[in-house]
Symmetry: C2
Subunit: 240 residues, 2 copies
């Protein structure tokens, strides 16, 4: 594809359109790295600034993502993660025709920190069952979530999770037929190196963190969970 000058269409805009088509036609696949700005400048025989202008527009439109020192990447499709009273990981993804997988990373029994105790209305230091999970869709890891359950009641939920891979099923074994999300707090932060490693993401891209409180039919607090999503791949959707 050639660049035509003095055509009434700015050179950067022509480049933008060429790149856009190549992304659409999967010449550059989602998540793949584009050639460097210098290489693109050579290919189109323009100055690097001109390529940067085209890239900046595509970034604005969400088609590309640039990481300083790493390169320019084709943005993968973003998942709309619905936050509602009935927030369920697998349902949320199957609604969008995506596969969903849970990976159990750790289970343990822990004394509640101040924060967890406040959320679950326990005394600080009271024992809670802790489950650390990863969430994947279409083979890509998109979230890591920590789940806390009050301990006498949900003893052994970690083992059950290993078996069922589903909180809905595991909770049912404890007589909780249905649980509902009472509140969700949503915030943005940069990942620690550990979080970046678990989510296979660079450190200079943001996380979306949700802190949720689940209650059973009688209003008892049954679960506090903190989920960290790759910010580039997930958006939270709230219907009021």
């Amino acid at each position: 594809m050639e660049i035509t000058r003095e055509s009434g269409v700015a050179v950067w805009r022509q480049i933008q359109q060429i790149l856009e088509r190549e992304i659409r036609e999967q010449t550059f696949r989602p998540g793949a790295r584009l050639p460097t700005e210098a290489e693109l400048a050579r290919r189109f025989m323009v100055n690097r600034h001109t390529v940067r202008q085209a890239i900046a527009r595509l970034e604005d439109r969400g088609l590309l993502r640039t990481d300083q020192g790493r390169g320019t990447f084709v943005q993968e499709a973003v998942i709309d993660y619905q936050v509602s009273r009935k927030t369920r990981f697998s349902e949320n993804l199957s609604r969008q025709n995506r596969t969903s997988d849970r990976v159990l990373l750790t289970t343990a029994d822990l004394p509640a920190s101040t924060e967890i105790a406040r959320a679950l209305r326990l005394r600080r230091g009271a024992m809670v069952a802790y489950v650390l999970c990863a969430g994947e869709t279409d083979g890509r890891r998109i979230s890591v979530s920590a789940h806390y359950f009050p301990k006498p009641r949900f003893d052994g939920i970690g083992a059950l999770m290993a078996e069922t891979k589903s909180f809905t099923h595991a909770m049912r074994r404890f007589g909780v037929e249905d649980y509902a999300r009472q509140t969700t707090r949503i915030l943005a932060k940069m990942p620690t190196s550990e979080e970046a490693r678990l989510l296979a993401m660079p450190r200079n891209r943001p996380l979306i963190v949700t802190e949720g409180l689940n209650i059973d039919g009688s209003g008892n607090r049954v679960e506090y969970c903190v989920t960290k999503f790759v910010g580039d791949l997930v958006q939270m959707l709230v219907e009021h």
Copy 2:
């Protein structure tokens, strides 16, 4: 304050507690930069790693924030911004005993982009009234928001906003007694240099972006708005 060794309390924990008290007592004010790690190491006569351990814990607890190449900062208080059917900037802050200010940055009439047209159910290129605002609380800028109104109906809303500084009041002049949020999309992204400038924040801290659609009593789409919050200062709170 002195560090006592072999006291049964780890040195890093003692340092953590000292820094914690100094933050609580405003020796280090919110937003202020702490002495460098090297300086603190000299002050407490320990290795820099030991100071870093203390700082890392305080960072986990949300009291400090570190920026590579810049320093360590006392985290300012975080605002819980309630996202609901009735999302109002000033009410949201007064609920938390904070002052609120709107700063009108720009108003214009624009043809709708694809995204805006889709949100407001207009033809692409149809005219919309555009208002760019900043939101401040206690003298600190926390948000920049772009508002789009369908044009024949809300002609001149920019001028009205300049006068009233309140969307609720301005909308009332157009016969919209009450409006409600239908959906909110929440995402995280890194700021452009322009966004960072407008929000007086560094480029390596995340934004929280909300995209909201407001409807009037009859279900007509009256406003589409995109608000960008300083991620370090604001958390979204959803009650289900």
